[in-house]
């Protein structure tokens, strides 16, 4: 029995632990068990990733029912990479959690952390499963937990944000379900590998086309691709800081993974990019998202909301990589998926530290704070460099590959667009730095102490990771390439 055989436990540990944590009394014990569960998941995911890269695909049939009849977990480089990202970010954000949660949520925390574990289990389940309907079920598990987590926010507007996310998220998930229904009607199977085998014979079937369209729109909603992004800014802005930090690093990434899995593995790129003008549509939406997101971010007063709009722009970068439909483009998408999780987590953590001390995330309240909370705001500035894409940061690596992929595809004008939106990022990060260091503290404002070490250490850990993965790209680039290869599959040709 090696650790590798515990692969399904990446999902099962958080799922089972959530039931236990819900019953635990007090405030510290639930957190401790949650941290242990998330760490255990992350460790197993870290063991599984190298194996998934070197071997074709790990499969675990549930209840010993062989696929395609039973539900199987099917792990290749693509989902092992995303699973490691999600469980790893969960463990790191949990280190940051206690102080921040203590300032925002009162009473016992058993149910709060149980919901967090459910959201985590749902996200990991989506990632690992090889069954199309199972994706829907896990998607709803994680979404339902997420809606309630957002509603924990102190501000009453958190309730409205959660409700709107619930409406839009449910419509998105139901679209996915419709797509799966069409696939099942024409193929009679729900297993993804089996679907991939049967679909090529049905190239001219309208139901298959409708299925692809429904799935892409449904996951586009969850991914916050530009015209479907309306739920995201408010949800991120009013959720408790810990929830925002976690969601920013994981939720949209998993949605992107599902979209890729369907576009590339289930439908195969020579179908999806030919039948629908997918390349054009995704590219237009991605570029629009990059510009609109960055543009709106430049004028936001509320910093969490600013970062949320910036996230919409970053989703644009990822989708841009996908729209090129090349191996390099897909590598860039996976790289940015990983790197953006690190960047946004660090930025939201820094803002969370500010909110812990001042209770406000507004630009005006940040004036002159640079000298009073130097460690926090330096962390913000360094993570800001990463989102801009300064060399030696993780953000640079993903933009570099995106530029490489654009040039390789002969679309040099995309390079210009990426540069322009990066300059917009310079502006919205600079506004914060200017307010923090180059403005005077308003007269009569009470002095603010530096954020506690319990918050600073995890924040700096993520910032350090940003620089580590900016210099040592063996893990990220290697795994992204393997993930892109896994999605493009054995011999599946590109258009």
């Amino acid at each position: 029995m090696t650790l590798l055989e515990f692969m399904p436990f990446i999902v099962l540990i958080p799922l089972i632990a959530s039931g236990i944590v819900a019953l635990l009394p007090g405030r510290n014990l639930p957190w401790l068990v949650t941290l242990l569960a998330a760490t255990a998941s992350a460790v197993i995911a870290a063991v599984v990733l190298p194996a998934a890269i070197s071997e074709p695909a790990l499969s675990y049939p549930f209840g010993n029912w062989p696929p395609p009849f039973g539900i199987e977990y099917r792990v290749d480089a693509a989902n092992a990479f995303v699973a490691l990202l999600v469980s790893g970010m969960a463990a790191i954000t949990l280190l940051w959690a206690p102080k921040s949660v203590a300032s925002e949520i009162h009473g016992r925390l058993g149910t709060f952390y149980a919901l967090f574990l459910l959201a985590l289990a749902g996200l990991l389940g989506i990632t690992l499963t090889g069954d199309a309907f199972n994706v829907f079920v896990f998607l709803e598990i994680s979404s339902l937990a997420t809606y309630t987590l957002i509603a924990y926010g102190k501000d009453r507007r958190a309730l409205l944000a959660a409700f709107r996310y619930l409406i839009m998220g449910t419509v998105g998930a139901t679209f996915l379900l419709i797509g799966i229904a069409f696939l099942y009607m024409v193929t009679g199977t729900l297993n993804m590998a089996d679907l991939a085998e049967r679909l090529p014979e049905l190239r001219d079937n309208n139901a298959v086309r409708a299925a692809l369209a429904f799935i892409i729109v449904g996951m586009g909603l969850k991914l916050a691709l530009l015209p479907l992004h309306l739920w995201l800014p408010n949800a991120y802005a009013y959720a408790p800081n810990f929830v925002t930090v976690f969601l920013a690093g994981t939720a949209t990434k998993v949605a992107l993974y599902v979209m890729l899995r369907f576009i590339f593995t289930v439908f195969s790129p020579d179908y999806s990019f030919v039948v629908l003008p997918l390349s054009t549509v995704l590219m237009v939406l991605a570029v629009a998202g990059m510009f609109a997101g960055s543009w709106v971010a430049m004028f936001q007063i509320h910093l969490k909301r600013m970062l949320a709009y910036s996230s919409i722009a970053q989703v644009g970068y990822m989708v841009l990589g996908v729209s090129l439909a090349t191996a390099t483009g897909l590598t860039a998408a996976f790289l940015h998926l990983f790197n953006h999780a690190l960047i946004k987590t660090a930025l939201f953590m820094a803002i969370g530290c500010v909110m812990y001390r001042t209770g406000s995330a507004k630009l005006d309240d940040l004036r002159g704070l640079g000298r009073q909370m130097p460690w926090t705001l330096t962390a913000f500035a360094l993570a800001g460099l990463s989102i801009i894409g300064v060399p030696t940061t993780a953000g640079f690596i993903s933009k570099w590959y995106l530029v490489l992929a654009s040039i390789e595809a002969g679309a040099w004008w995309l390079v210009v667009l990426v540069l322009i939106t990066s300059l917009m990022a310079v502006y919205y990060i600079w506004r914060v730095i200017e307010a923090a260091w180059f403005s005077e503290r308003p007269a009569g404002a009470a002095p603010v102490p530096e954020a506690p070490l319990a918050l600073l250490v995890p924040t700096w850990l993520v910032v350090a990771l940003n620089f580590y993965f900016g210099l040592d790209t063996r893990l990220t680039v290697g795994a992204s390439m393997a993930a892109a290869d896994a999605l493009l599959g054995s011999g599946a040709g590109l258009p």
């Binding site: 339902l144 309630t148 409700f163 099942y184």
Partner: protein, 119 residues
């Protein structure tokens, strides 16, 4: 098949659009949730219709039954119904909290509040 042969699917499409319209056009949150339910229910009918085999019996093993409906869509719909109920429950719970916090559940009255940058 004739137009009537697709009767189930016409019902699915019409129900789906009614539900979707409710979700988009209605300001009242309870009505939005009702629309969402209708929207989901239409998908359940889509699944069940797909599993029906003309002249097929219920999928229970017994004597004299050769042709039976595909049971898998039924199982899927059962799961999806559970998901739908959970969403309705969470949505209604949020509505109650919004009523407590704002004193109204009409989205039109609340729209300004959430996008408001001040306070």
């Amino acid at each position: 098949m004739t137009v009537l042969g697709f009767f189930n699917y016409w019902v699915v499409v019409i129900l789906m659009m009614i539900g979707f319209y409710c979700v988009i056009a209605r300001g009242n949150m309870v009505k939005k949730i009702m629309g969402l339910n209708l929207f989901q229910t239409s998908v359940f009918i889509l699944f069940v219709s797909a599993g029906k085999i003309v002249g097929g019996a219920t999928p229970i093993v017994r004597e004299g039954v050769e042709v039976y409906s595909n049971p898998l869509p039924h199982v899927i719909v059962l799961t999806a119904i559970v998901v739908g109920v959970a969403i309705t429950a969470v949505g209604l719970a949020l509505t109650v909290r919004i009523q407590e916090a704002y004193g109204t559940i009409e989205d039109d009255h609340l729209g300004d509040d959430i996008d408001d940058e001040e306070d």
